[in-house]
Structure formats: structure tokens, C-alpha cells
Homo-oligomer: 238 residues x 2
Amino acid sequence: MPYELYYWPGIQGRGEFVRLALEEAGANYIDRAREPNAEATLIAFLERTDIAHPSFAPPFLKDGQLIVGQTAAILLYLGDRHGLAPKNPERRLWVHQIQLTIADLVGEAHDTHHPLSGDLYYEEQKPEASHRAKWFREERIQKYLDWFETILARNPDGDAHLAGDTLSYADLSLFQVVEGLLYAFPKKTKALLAESPRVSALRLMVARRPRIRAYLESDRRVKFNEHGIFRHYPELDG
Amino acid sequence: MPYELYYWPGIQGRGEFVRLALEEAGANYIDRAREPNAEATLIAFLERTDIAHPSFAPPFLKDGQLIVGQTAAILLYLGDRHGLAPKNPERRLWVHQIQLTIADLVGEAHDTHHPLSGDLYYEEQKPEASHRAKWFREERIQKYLDWFETILARNPDGDAHLAGDTLSYADLSLFQVVEGLLYAFPKKTKALLAESPRVSALRLMVARRPRIRAYLESDRRVKFNEHGIFRHYPELDG
């Protein structure tokens, strides 16, 4: 039975981290966000009262009777099933710790354009977004990239992967978050990547994986846009 | 060998979720945040270059040679070792999914007093904090409490615990986040808890656990204050 991925249509968002793992695994899945009436389908699912383990928010993955929400928890589940995480428990936990740190970065990237409220448009909180984005651009991106660079450099199995010497879901997620930062804050991110050779190499390595490349070139990959988490507002790029 | 918990001194913060699990487990641990010169100890640790798996930020837990960071990952580790999580893999993942949702709520609570930048004081972003807190108070707290109430009501093993019929680290964390909300937003949270009988009962149940009660009454429990995540600024309570 195929997996079913539920998420908001029209954007990459947090669902994209799950998609990259499913694509790399060559998994059989139905992307409910890419079907007609996807938003109505999603909302109807969220309103169901017969589900013992409802997710607080999308994305969530359905695997038969099992429903798993929270991006990092979905990847923990898929990582074990598709060889995208180490089997050793301590290394498996380390990959998860990295993923949780990526999730924090994703949350901060979102808040650059919505610092005051998720109920307002960006256009209604532009001065505050400008302030928040400045801090993110000048302090936070670098701090995160430095940490990724450091853990790559310290990986005892080599600096090609975040953990061990094979691909993990955290590598895929780091690729995705760098792509997002390059879209949203191109000037700043390009400058910082020039000083982050290991992160840059990992990004290219992931992009060249045959299944990832095929996915990125397909129309299944929705383009970044100004409805998602990573939005390009030139005035926020400094 | 005792665990060692590293965190910022003087506040409960994210470290408190780990402390509650360690206390409930009756685990042997050294709280490095409660020792003299704790901040210098922490910073020196963060600056070490000989650690293969450095954490991006505190809290982190040292167990012999193993270092685990990210609150939810630490709890995943402790939950398995101390019977604070189900053994069944799908239920274990559900408890973790709940914990990750609690982590999102904690992050949102923090941002009510720091919507623009972590580098500014609250006093330098009061109008923006007022706006962000209004949204949090009027929309977000209720949405989260409704979800906790729903998953308690739908627990097939009864509504006394978030998952199964025994205590998990997620129960402890829900207690902590409700305590924090009651401290920071007492008017709003009391009103909402009056309509959340299951969450209220869980809070009391956890507070009455003998080891938790002993901890809460001890001087190991630092009081909530205006340096932590949950801060009581009356003007933000509406």
C-alpha cells in the first residue's frame, strides 16, 4: 500500500523535507497535496473525529492505519524503513538531533516574514519583518551554517555527510534548507556559502543523486514562491 | 556514572523538561547549571573543539561519552532508558510527536516577548511583543490546549495520560508547559483551563507524583522569572 502524504497545496513548505526522503528512497507514495481539491481534502482530514492520533498541523504521513505528524518524527520513521538513518541507536539519535536543529532554522526562516502574527499578511508587518530579517541575516544564518560546517568537519567518517559515511535524511534536509535560504536571501546566503565549503559540497552531492535530480527536474517539484516558508522579498535580503 | 545536564543557570527554560524526566525517573544526575560558575562551565564546554557531536545550543545531556542535545531528542533517549515512553515503536513515535508539538508551543511562547530579535531586550520590542502576544493569547494557546484535550479524550487507554495508561515524558512536559503558561499569561490560561478538564486533571496528576512533588518543593526547582522562556509581563496578558 502506498504512503499518503498530506500537506498544504501550492508550496514546498515542511512537506518538502518528507518528499525528498520519499523520492530518494524510491518509495511508493501518493502526494495528496498535488491532487485536485487538495486543500479541501486536507481540511476534511484534519476535521475527522475518528482518528486517535490526529496531528496538530500538516504535514502528516499515512502508512496504512498509522498516521505520523511532525516533520522530524515522519523522517525518523522513514529513515528507519528506507535506510536513510544509521541503525546504531546513538548515531540514529545524532541524525535526529541534527534534524531538530534544522527544524529550528526552518522556524526562524519563516518568522522573518511573519514576526508578529500568522494571521496577518507579510504586507501588514513589513517594518517588523525588516527588523527580524536583519537579525536572521546578520546573526542566525551564519551561526547555523557554522554549526553544519563544524559537524561535517568533525565527522570521523569524513566530511561528505552529516553523520557516518552514507546519506541520511538529515543530509537531504540540509540540502533543502540551503536551497530555501538561497531562494529567500540570495545575496547573504551566497556570501556565507563561499565560506562554507563542506555545506556547499553536500548541497551539490545531494542535488546530483539520481533520484533527487530526477525529482527536482520533474513537475512534482513545486517552485519556491511567496506563499511558502522561504520567500524572496528583496528588501529582506539587505 | 551520573548523567550531567548542561544548561543556562538561573532559569528553568528548556532544561526544565529534561529535569522533570530525570527527577521522575529518580535518575542520578549532576545539574551543571546549578553549580558555581555554571555559565562559564557551559560556555567553555560549547567552545570545546574535541567533541564530534556538539550541540547547537543547550540543553544537552552527557551520559559518559555520549552527548545528546535538543530537548526532544534528550527525552527520546531518557524515555527509553527509564520507562517514560512506550516500548511499542508506533506508540513511542506518537509520544515523540506530542513532544515535538509541545516544543513548537514553547517556541511560540518565547517569541511573545522576543518577536523581533533575541539580541534585543524585551523593553526594546514592547509594541511588537504586545502584538505577537495578542495573537498567541487569542488564537494559539487555545488551539494547542484544544489539541491536547482532544488527544486525551481520544486516547483508547483512557484520558488520564497523553498516550497509553502510564506516565510518559510527554505528560511531564505538558505539565511544565501549562505551569509556564499559567505563570506568563495567568488570566488567559486560567480561563482556558476551565474549559480543558482533561489537561487540568493531568496537570494535577503530575504535580502529585511523589518525586515530582518533592522536586517542586525543593530548592532545585528555580522559580519562573523574567529571564526565562515563560515571563510574566502583565501587559502581555491582555
